[in-house]
């Protein structure tokens, strides 16, 4: 595009914004509200996933080894398990370590000094990549000859897995619905704006403007609506989210909520969504009045 033409388009943009101030307000407000709501949803979704994986990373399978298993056998087994899919890490806990862990966990509330022959078995503590794979991994380990018994709080984990699965689906559904609503409503608003300038578009074509020459200023305008709306949405969203997070961290200090720079990708996405919806809305609306 010649710089002369670009200059003309930018001039057209600024004039059009001045002339169509009501449309500017209507479009930008629509984008702001919708991107704000979408942002709120995405923040909830993002934190939900963080909490979920934080909980998941705490879950582990304990595979208790048979009494006669030697350290060497245990370590071989450990390495073998670590190489399997779904298994993230394996830790070998010897009988002595098991006892000292027990001492630590009970914090001397139970007198363990009378124990002479350590009754605790050695075990492998296994972390998997996600909670859904726990049952399958556990049953595979159970069938190994060195393993006496496998423990993984089956009931709790099954409930956890199904609860989070349902919640995640619901959330994802809502996010998609919200995204579609955002696209549709913004498109409609822009379509009305363009419709009110149908005559202008016809005149431009009568004077010999090519379709792209008519289209560009509208696309720039749509991008401007989208970008401005999304920026305003972020400006409103930031303090709301900040307040919510500080409240939540007082009540549940361990929640791994996203903060600071962790939010940048999301913010960038919202800006991209706002701008591209503005562009595409204009593009599609103007096309209805162009003859090629």
């Amino acid at each position: 595009m010649a710089s002369r033409t670009l200059q003309f388009f930018l001039l057209e943009l600024s004039n059009s914004l001045k002339r169509n101030i009501l449309m500017l307000v209507a479009s930008v407000t629509t984008v702001t509200i919708l991107v704000f709501l979408l942002g709120l949803f995405l923040l909830f979704f993002m934190n939900f996933q963080r909490i979920r994986s934080a909980i998941a990373s705490e879950l582990e399978i304990h595979a208790y080894l048979k009494q006669q298993t030697t350290d060497d056998q245990a370590l071989t087994l450990k390495h073998h398990l670590a190489s399997l899919t779904h298994i993230r890490s394996v830790r070998y806990v010897t009988r002595d370590e098991a006892l000292s862990e027990l001492r630590k966990d009970t914090k001397g509330e139970i007198d363990l000094s009378g124990i002479i022959n350590n009754p605790l078995p050695a075990y492998l503590s296994i972390q998997v990549d996600n909670p859904e794979s726990i049952p399958a991994v556990a049953s595979a380990i159970q069938s190994m000859k060195e393993v006496e018994q496998v423990n993984y709080f089956q009931k709790i984990i099954d409930q956890f897995v199904s609860l989070f699965k349902t919640a995640e689906r619901l959330f994802l559904g809502l996010v998609i619905l919200m995204l579609l609503c955002t696209l549709m409503i913004i498109h409609n608003t822009i379509r009305l704006c363009v419709f009110s300038r149908k005559k202008e578009i016809e005149i431009m074509q009568l004077v010999g403007a090519t379709s792209s020459f008519v289209r560009w200023p509208f696309i720039l305008e749509g991008a401007f609506y989208g970008l401005l709306g999304a920026t305003l949405a972020l400006i409103f969203l930031a303090p709301c989210y900040h307040a919510l997070v500080s409240e939540m961290s007082i009540i549940f200090p361990i929640l791994p909520l996203a903060k600071g720079h962790e939010l940048f990708p999301l913010m960038l996405w919202l800006l991209v969504i706002g701008t591209s919806v503005g562009c595409s809305g204009s593009y599609l609306s103007v096309n209805r009045y162009l003859h090629c």
Partner: protein
């Protein structure tokens, strides 16, 4: 310059607007297209600048068969001619200068050249002093003069006008007709559709009659024999 060869046109709703248009307009001519309301004058003009595509027949403009050009080429056709409408069709919220300049912006003319050409066009329609006025604040006659300036600013030598004085009083309308005559004297071909018999009689130009979708071509000299001053002329 313009040639209609057995042109017919039907609107999508089935209305047959034109059935047999035959006419040749020479370079440098000033021609009126006359006929009663609904006879198809606007339809015929719209086909010249490819607002409509003939249902059958051919229209040649500057050596181009305009019915067959691909939609992508339409803007380029329109840059070779200027069109003036009854309702002016100006871009609202813009100045006189911006409206006239738009026809040059579309071809990417540089700023200095635009100022020069727009200045020249506005001078021709005697509107130089209103260049920076918003077109909505102009009188009807001034708006029409703006649209004439826009039609000629790109240097095209074909001017088409559809009922250009329809929204204007007689005196202002006459001024507009005189501007057309001036433009024609400077070499451009001018085609004006009107049912204003007054202009036709005063200007003594060739007239192409359209009646019930067909052309009846007569020179004004013979018009009195046809009883032009009397509306019965419009029946063959």
């Amino acid at each position: 310059m313009i040639e209609f060869r057995s042109v017919g046109f039907s609107y999508p709703n089935g209305v047959r607007a034109l059935s047999a248009i035959n006419a040749t307009i020479q370079k440098g001519e000033f021609v009126f297209i006359a006929g009663p309301t609904g006879s198809g004058k606007s339809t015929a003009l719209k086909m010249i600048y490819r607002e409509l595509k003939p249902t059958f027949g051919e229209i040649w403009v500057n050596g181009l068969n305009v019915g067959t050009i691909p939609p992508k080429r339409i803007p380029y056709l329109r840059r070779t001619l200027g069109v003036v409408f009854e309702d002016f069709k100006l871009l609202h919220g813009r100045t006189v200068f911006q409206n006239v300049a738009y026809a040059l912006e579309v071809v990417g003319t540089d700023r200095h050249e635009i100022e020069r050409q727009v200045g020249r066009a506005l001078q021709l329609v005697a509107l130089g002093h209103k260049a920076d006025q918003n077109v909505e604040h102009l009188s009807g006659g001034e708006q029409q003069r703006t649209s004439i300036a826009r039609a000629i600013v790109n240097g095209s030598n074909l001017l088409i006008a559809d009922e250009p004085t329809g929204h204007l009083d007689a005196e202002t309308g006459w001024e507009i007709m005189q501007i057309f005559e001036q433009i024609n004297k400077e070499g451009a071909t001018v085609v004006v559709a009107t049912h204003n018999i007054d202009w036709i009689e005063r200007l003594q130009k060739r007239v192409i009659f359209i009646y019930e979708g067909e052309t009846i071509e007569k020179y004004i000299k013979g018009a009195n024999r046809l009883g032009l001053s009397n509306s019965s002329v419009l029946s063959p």
